[in-house]
Structures are given as structure tokens and as C-alpha cells.
């Protein structure tokens, strides 16, 4: 897919649709492409750090840095695949996998106590002390049957989050 033209061909759309497992309709992909071009101001074919952080609603999000590591330098196809977890057609499995990936920053398939602590720190900032964070985490882990030094894998996440009403949907504006 060339980054010089801002026109998508039918072939391009189908390729992207296949890449994201049909979680977005063709109209949604066209809208996402318009959005991608709008954000990619210097037309480099990917959205850089600066361009993402220039969206204030994104920059004030507590998890922006974490997400940012996952989306930096993505081209359009990967951008759509990244957002596919938020489609209404995405399965619960897909959404839980996505959350797991956010926690598992080094990508080794294992989420340790330190990873849980990192995310909790991003979400609560300076408003809880580090010591309290550890205490809170240890307490809820033990209540759920894990230990402080337990390593969580994807199946654990599926067990904990799997049978819940996980609401993680974003509507792509289609005009």
C-alpha cells in the first residue's frame, strides 16, 4: 500500500480486512484510513509519537505511554489490527488477549507481580503510595487464590476476566 496516494483501492481494503480478521466492515476501514491520514500529518506512512500525543484526549490517558509503545511506528494495516480489539465484532477472547498484551510489556507471555504493579502505578499515579499499591495487589491476589510471586499467563486472565461483561467497544464514525 503506497503512502504517497491517499486513495484506497478495493484490493487494499480487502487485504486490511483479512489482516484484522473481518472485525471491521469495509466502510469502517475507509473511515479509519481517513483518520490515519489526518493523524499522519507529515505523510510518513506511519503515525509518530508526536502525532499521537498531539491528540489531547489520548495524551491525558493514564495508559497512553504503555499503549504508545505498542502503536509506535505502525503502518495502516497494523493500525487497524491494533484497533480491532475494540470492534463490536471482536470476540471476548480477543479482547482479553489484548488486555494481556498491555500488561505483558516484554511480550514473553508471562505477567508477573511487577507488571501488575506497573499498570496500577500508571492508573493511580501519586495518589497511592508504592507500599499501599503492593499491599492492595497482594491482598486481592491472595483472595483470588494466587500468591504474590505467582506468574499469570493468558489462561489465568481468561479465567479471571473471561466470564464477565467486558465492555471494550469503540464506534468508528462512518459518514
Amino acid at each position: 500500500m503506497g503512502n504517497t496516494s491517499s486513495m484506497l483501492t478495493q484490493y487494499d481494503i480487502e487485504e486490511v480486512q483479512e489482516h484484522c480478521n473481518n472485525t471491521f466492515s469495509q466502510q469502517e476501514i475507509v473511515s479509519l484510513y481517513q483518520r490515519f491520514c489526518q493523524l499522519d500529518r507529515n505523510s510518513g506512512g506511519f503515525i509518530s509519537a508526536d502525532e499521537f500525543l498531539s491528540v489531547p484526549e489520548f495524551a491525558v490517558n493514564p495508559l497512553a505511554q504503555r499503549l504508545f509503545r505498542m502503536i509506535d511506528g505502525l503502518n495502516f494495516k497494523e493500525f487497524v489490527a491494533f484497533l480491532s480489539a475494540f470492534s463490536s465484532r471482536a470476540t471476548l477472547q480477543h479482547k482479553v488477549e489484548y488486555i494481556f498484551k498491555v500488561y505483558d510489556s516484554d511480550g514473553n507471555g508471562k505477567v508477573a507481580f511487577s507488571d501488575l504493579l506497573d499498570v496500577l502505578r500508571d492508573l493511580t499515579g501519586q495518589f497511592i503510595s508504592e507500599q499501599q499499591r503492593e499491599l492492595v495487589l497482594t491482598q486481592v491476589l491472595e483472595e483470588a487464590g494466587y500468591k504474590k510471586d505467582s506468574i499469570l499467563v493468558l489462561s489465568d486472565f481468561m479465567k479471571i476476566l473471561g466470564n464477565s461483561d467486558l465492555k471494550m467497544e469503540v464506534e468508528v464514525p462512518v459518514d
Binding site: L32, R35, Q38, L39, R41, F52, L53, S54, V55, P56, E57, F58, A59, V60, N61, P62, L63, A64, L67, I71, L83, F86, K95, Y98, I99, V102, Y103, L116, V119, L120, L123, T124, G125, Q126, F127, I128, S129, Q132, L135, V136, L137, Q139, V140, L141, E142, E143, A144, Y146, F157, I160, L161, S164, L166, K167, M168, E169, V170, E171, V172, P173
Partner: protein, 388 residues
């Protein structure tokens, strides 16, 4: 299982921290309007049940907000120039459109350039003598210069076939008052200046615009600022105050948004104009997009290109409403006053209000917003830990 830390139960330590949390929230709220009123707040609803591992692992509300911002956000929408739908797409309309292009570029444009050149000749041949010869008679000179500036602005407006409808009482020069208006393009200034010779506060521009700023606009008493200078704000605030309190100055016009917005939205007003202790007279400007989109997207075009675009379209049609002067209510802060006036202007011109600072075009948002989200989540975690 009960945790004991230093011989006191865990809950005690957490309770102590809770009281600290409440004091910091009042510090944060002091200087800004409540952004949570504007932003979608249905995502982070904190139920009041006991905290479980699942609640900490489920970061879906925050992730959804982030993804929502990536897909569409209210800030970028303010600066999007929406090109009008092409209507020349079939065999009957296309020749009409071509004819239109010929008329616009071949007939209207040269005529307009002629009108503008004529205007400049008349203006300069009156302005230069007045400026030089009447150096000693300041009052007369100022009065004549004011009339001449209004004249050249009328010529500019004529050069775009501007059809401006003014509603409301005309502004008059009185001390202790400022005029504020929403900002779509630099032509806002010309449209308003045609009716009344305002003194305006503007960003210093390079090129021929800068030249005009330093020569002619100087005579109506304009104030310059530089967005990138930090110390500049205090100097500008002082100059504003001096101007407003002076008895002989032209009425002051301020665009509190600080940047050009696309005439569908208003961004947050800077409080500078609202803490001068003067009456604020709001002015609302709305352009009719059927004729031309007057939004100056300074990232996409230079001012010259923008002017040329206006001169090759059919007309610039807009409405200007001079609204009722407002004073700061007792107990109202400058920011609340600014938001109230923004509401008045947005309601009149049919614009949507967004909670963002226009300068976010040039810089990152302050960490205060993120911190307030973190704070509310932290409070909820601690509160739910206490539940049985």
C-alpha cells in the same frame, strides 16, 4: 485474613491516606473549569462492591477511552477544514461549474484585484500625508487615521464581495471595556474593523502582514505578542490593562481562543481578557459555508494563499452579532466568566463548545488532567477495599 502493619490494621493506614487525597483535590480544582462536565464520563463508573483481582485487571474502561481518542477526538475536529461536497460530478453540472470557474478566475478576480489596488492607492495617498503632516495635531490625526483604516478594510471586504450582516448596537469607544470574538481567520479582524476601528491584540506575523502590522495597525494602537515567549504573558497583560484604562484609546478587540478554529466549534477562552476589571462585550461571527469556507487552516495555507482563495470564490457571507455587554458577577472567577461569555457567543453563532485549550495545537496538555483521572481511580480502589 487481616493485614497488620506496624501493629495497626491495614485499613487504618489507608484511611489516613484518604484524608490527604481530599485536600489535594481542592487544590487541583481551583484554577480550571470542570473538564469532566464535557468529557464522556460514562466509562469510568466505579461500583461500590468489594475490590477483587478482576477489578484491578480490568483496564478496559481506560483502554476504551484511549482507543476512542485515537479513532475520533473533539480537539482535532475543531481544526478540520471540511471541503464542501463536489456538486459538479455529472455531465450537466460540470460545464456549469467550468463556466463558474471561468467567471470567477477570469472576470471576478481581476475586477477584485483592481478594486483592491484602487483602494490601496486611495488609502496610501491619504494616509501618508496625514501621518506625516499632522504629526503635531494628534487628535485630528488619530481621527483621520481611524477613518482611513476603516476605509481600507471596506476595500478588502469588497475585494471578496463580502456580504456582512451586522446585528446589534454598534460598538462605541468607552473606557473600561473590551470586545471579545470567536476566531476563524485573520479576516475576522478585517470584517470587524470595517465597522469600527478597533485596537487589536495579535500574534506578530512574518512577511507583508508583519509589515502592515508594524506600520498601519500601529496607528490604531495594536498590541503584539509572541506565542513562544513565556515571559511575554506578563508584559502583554500589563499592556492590556494600560490600554483599557486609558481614556483616549480605540476600543480593544481580543480573540480569546488564541488560535483560528473552524467555525463549527469554540475552544476554551484564555482568561487574560476577563481579568482586566473591564466590561466584556461579546461579538459572535458566523460564516456561511455555502459560499466559501472562511476557516484559515494556518497549518495548511499561508495567509496569502488564503486571501487568494477568498478572492476567487463567489462571496464571503457572514453574520456578525454584537451581544449584550457582560460584567463579572460577584464571586465569579475569571475562568468562569470566560466560559460564561464563550457560552453566550457559541449559542448565538451555533457553535459547539469543546473543553480544550487552543494552544494544545502547539504544546502538550498539562499533567493535571491525567492526574485527576488517576486520583478518582485511586480513591475508588481505596474505598472499595474497605467494603465488606
Amino acid at each position: 485474613m487481616c493485614y497488620v502493619v506496624n501493629n495497626r490494621p491495614l485499613s487504618h493506614h489507608l484511611n489516613v491516606k484518604m484524608s490527604k487525597l481530599t485536600t489535594s483535590s481542592s487544590e487541583l480544582d481551583l484554577d480550571r473549569p470542570n473538564i469532566e462536565d464535557y468529557l464522556p464520563s460514562d466509562s469510568i463508573q466505579q461500583p461500590h462492591t468489594k475490590l477483587r483481582l478482576r477489578d484491578l485487571l480490568d483496564i478496559s474502561p481506560t483502554l476504551t477511552e484511549a482507543a476512542g481518542a485515537i479513532v475520533d477526538d473533539s480537539f482535532t475536529r475543531c481544526f478540520k477544514s471540511n471541503p464542501p461536497e463536489p456538486w459538479n460530478w455529472n455531465i450537466y453540472l460540470f460545464p456549469l461549474w467550468c463556466l463558474g470557474v471561468v467567471v470567477r478566475y477570469g472576470i471576478l478576480f481581476p475586477l477584485r484585484v483592481l478594486v483592491l489596488t484602487l483602494g490601496w492607492i486611495i488609502f496610501l495617498s491619504c494616509y501618508i500625508p496625514v501621518h506625516v503632516l499632522l504629526k503635531g495635531h494628534d487628535k485630528l490625526r488619530k481621527r483621520l487615521e481611524r477613518v482611513l483604516v476603516e476605509l481600507i478594510c471596506s476595500f478588502f471586504v469588497a475585494s471578496w464581495t463580502g456580504v456582512v450582516k451586522y446585528h446589534g448596537p454598534r460598538p462605541c469607544a468607552r473606557p473600561k471595556q473590551v470586545f471579545v470574538a470567536n476566531h476563524t481567520s485573520m479576516i475576522d479582524f478585517i470584517v470587524l474593523e470595517q465597522m469600527t476601528a478597533f485596537a487589536v491584540i495579535m500574534q506578530k506575523h512574518p512577511g507583508w502582514v508583519g509589515l502592515l502590522q508594524s506600520t498601519i495597525l500601529e496607528s490604531v494602537g495594536c498590541i503584539w505578542f509572541n506565542r513562544s515567549e513565556a515571559k511575554d504573558r506578563e508584559i502583554v497583560a500589563r499592556k492590556l490593562r494600560e490600554h483599557v484604562e486609558g481614556t483616549d484609546n480605540n476600543p480593544l478587540l481580543i480573540f480569546p481562543e488564541g488560535t483560528c478554529v473552524n467555525n463549527h466549534y469554540t475552544v476554551m477562552f484564555k482568561k487574560g481578557a476577563f481579568e482586566l476589571g473591564a466590561t466584556v462585550c461579546p461579538i459572535a461571527i458566523k460564516y456561511n459555508k455555502i459560499f466559501v469556507d472562511a476557516f484559515w487552516n494556518s497549518r495548511k495555507q499561508s495567509f496569502t494563499t488564503h486571501l487568494l482563495q477568498l478572492m476567487t470564490s463567489w462571496a464571503v457571507v457572514c453574520d456578525v452579532w454584537y451581544l449584550e455587554p457582560q460584567n463579572m458577577k460577584p464571586g465569579e472567577t475569571a475562568i468562569e466568566f470566560a466560559e460564561r461569555v464563550r457560552g453566550i457567543i457559541s449559542a448565538r453563532a451555533g457553535l459547539k463548545m469543546v473543553p480544550w485549550d487552543g494552544y494544545l495545537k502547539y504544546s502538550r496538555p498539562s499533567p493535571k488532567h491525567r492526574e485527576s483521572k488517576q486520583q478518582s481511580f485511586a480513591e475508588s480502589v481505596l474505598r472499595r477495599l474497605e467494603e465488606k
